[in-house]
């Protein structure tokens, strides 16, 4: 497993005549194999944080390190899962799941075996030859996850992966995510707007301040992942604590899930 660290990281976007400061002197360390949730008000730079960690953006200032090494471009064992799944509608389920392997030049036979196993693990093996357009929202998100599973990623970066799903499907997928982490033990950063999701899936919960984003608070959540955690009183207390913290940050009201999308130049 691999650690992730942000040291004194600042980032600004320039465009259409104005400068937006997304992150300001961010300090954050994620231990190897640790699942961390990141939560904060709209536009606090949460997505920027993930793009920096994925090597798709270069920080204007400061150091982003994965496994102690400076991030300089896309890393083979890092998987990024985006809000709208990032699936390609013209590729079948199996082709989508195996795209990362294909791009990395993994031979067809090995690719087939790993894809089959990954689809099995996220529970959509029966749909290998369907197109994403034929899947429900929950199944599409499972497919997006299967890409990371097929890659055997040791660092999973997720940008509100479940925000478009209905409540039941969402809890279902949270369990899938938890199961994958318990099995693989990867390092995980989950950006979310949902307090319950942050508490259910983060061993530590990082609260960011309004733009420009800094770490406003870190909540330890050692009971995460224990049996029946979702219905335990500890879970509800943690949620209440987090809600209070966020209200203190002044920008999040429970139930709102709005964020100005961050645009990135390719």
């Amino acid at each position: 497993m691999v650690s992730l660290a942000f040291h004194d990281v600042s980032h600004t976007y320039e465009g259409s005549g104005r400068v937006v400061r997304a992150l300001d002197a961010l300090e954050l360390e994620v231990a190897a194999g640790e699942p961390v949730s990141v939560i904060g008000p709209s536009g606090c730079g949460k997505s920027t944080l993930l793009l920096l960690a994925a090597g798709l953006l270069v920080a204007a200032a400061g150091r982003v390190e994965v496994g102690g090494a400076l991030v300089a471009g896309v890393r083979r064992e890092t998987a990024l899962i985006l809000q709208d799944y990032g699936l390609l509608p013209w590729k079948t389920v199996a082709e989508n799941a195996g795209l990362g392997l294909q791009v990395r030049g993994v031979a067809r036979d090995e690719r087939g075996a790993r894809v089959a196993q990954a689809l099995e693990r996220v529970g959509i093996a029966d749909f290998a030859h369907a197109y994403p357009g034929e899947l429900s929202g929950g199944m599409r998100q499972r497919l997006a996850l299967s890409r990371a599973v097929a890659l055997d990623a040791d660092l999973l970066l997720m940008d509100e992966p479940l925000s478009a799903l209905d409540a039941l499907t969402r809890e279902d997928l949270q369990d899938v995510l938890l199961g994958l982490w318990q099995r693989r033990g990867h390092t995980a950063v989950l950006v979310t707007h949902s307090i319950e999701e942050a508490v259910y899936l983060g061993r530590r919960i990082v609260v960011l301040s309004p733009r420009p984003g800094r770490v406003a608070a870190v909540v330890d959540n050692a009971a995460m992942g224990s049996d029946g955690y979702r219905s335990s009183s500890a879970f509800y207390e943690r949620c209440a604590q987090l809600r209070e913290l966020l209200a203190g940050e002044g920008a999040v009201h429970p139930g709102t899930a709005l964020e100005t999308p961050v645009t990135v130049q390719s």
Binding site: L56, L80, L87, G100
Partner: protein
């Protein structure tokens, strides 16, 4: 079931067309506008001399469309994805695009002779610009999330083009091709009727000169057939390569 409905639609459309044609021909009452019965009879009896001309014309249009597409798609996609290249070339394209390329026919005939080359080049040019502009716009509107998600997998620029930009632009490229078919055949008729001694365009004008109106109409029918065949070929190809679009509905 779909094939049956498709065939029924075609038969119905042709029946309506023939009825309207017959009515207009009867009303006009001129030998220059024979009714469908006369034209169809001529088409059947003249088929042995018509089909080689159809093949010549078909080959010219196909070659021109292939040539135009092969150059336009990569160029258009590159412009759509590279702001720097677009800044340089887009103004040039917008100046050239509205110029009716057909006015260059005389120039091409002088420079390239009376054979296949000037006709293919002219039609190819027209198709090139239509596809170029479409491919550029389509590449521009590729969702950034798709590009990012594939880049995060470690894809190179070339792999992004192959897995994301090209397939995303395909439906719009096909639409441009189908619209281009009509223009291509119209220009083909003009080019063949002005210069050369073969092709359906030449055949129509030649029959006209001989005041052989049934033969002229047999040629017109052949030209119509050419258009329908091309259009259906493109449709078939599109359904083949963009199967995923039907799957989601």
């Amino acid at each position: 079931m779909n094939a049956v409905r498709w065939a029924l639609g075609y038969v119905g459309a042709i029946a309506i067309l023939l009825l309207a044609w017959g009515a207009v021909a009867a009303a006009v009452g001129s030998p220059a506008l024979p009714g469908p019965a006369v034209a169809l009879e001529a088409f059947v009896t003249l088929w042995p001399e018509l089909w080689p001309e159809i093949l010549v014309s078909l080959a010219r249009v196909l070659a021109a469309m292939a040539l135009g597409t092969v150059f336009a798609v990569p160029a258009g996609l590159a412009l759509g994805r590279s702001a720097r290249a677009d800044a340089v070339f887009a103004p040039l394209i917008f100046v050239l695009y509205p110029i009716p390329k057909v006015v260059f026919l005389p120039v091409l005939l002088v420079l390239l002779g009376l054979g296949n080359t000037p006709k293919i080049v002219l039609i190819g040019m027209i198709v090139f610009f239509q596809i170029l502009v479409t491919a550029r716009d389509a590449a521009k509107s590729v969702p950034q999330a798709s590009v990012l998600s594939v880049r995060s997998l470690g894809a190179s620029r070339w792999q992004v083009a192959r897995h994301v930009v090209f397939p995303a632009a395909l439906p719009e490229i096909f639409t441009a091709l189908r619209i281009g078919t009509g223009t291509a055949i119209a220009v083909l008729f003009l080019a063949e009727s002005i210069a050369g001694s073969n092709g359906i365009g030449w055949y129509i004008v030649d029959a006209w000169g001989r005041i052989d109106y049934p033969a002229m109409f047999a040629g017109i029918l052949a030209m119509a057939l050419l258009g329908v065949v091309l259009y259906e070929l493109l449709d078939l190809l599109e359904t083949r390569v963009t199967r995923w679009r039907v799957a989601g509905q």
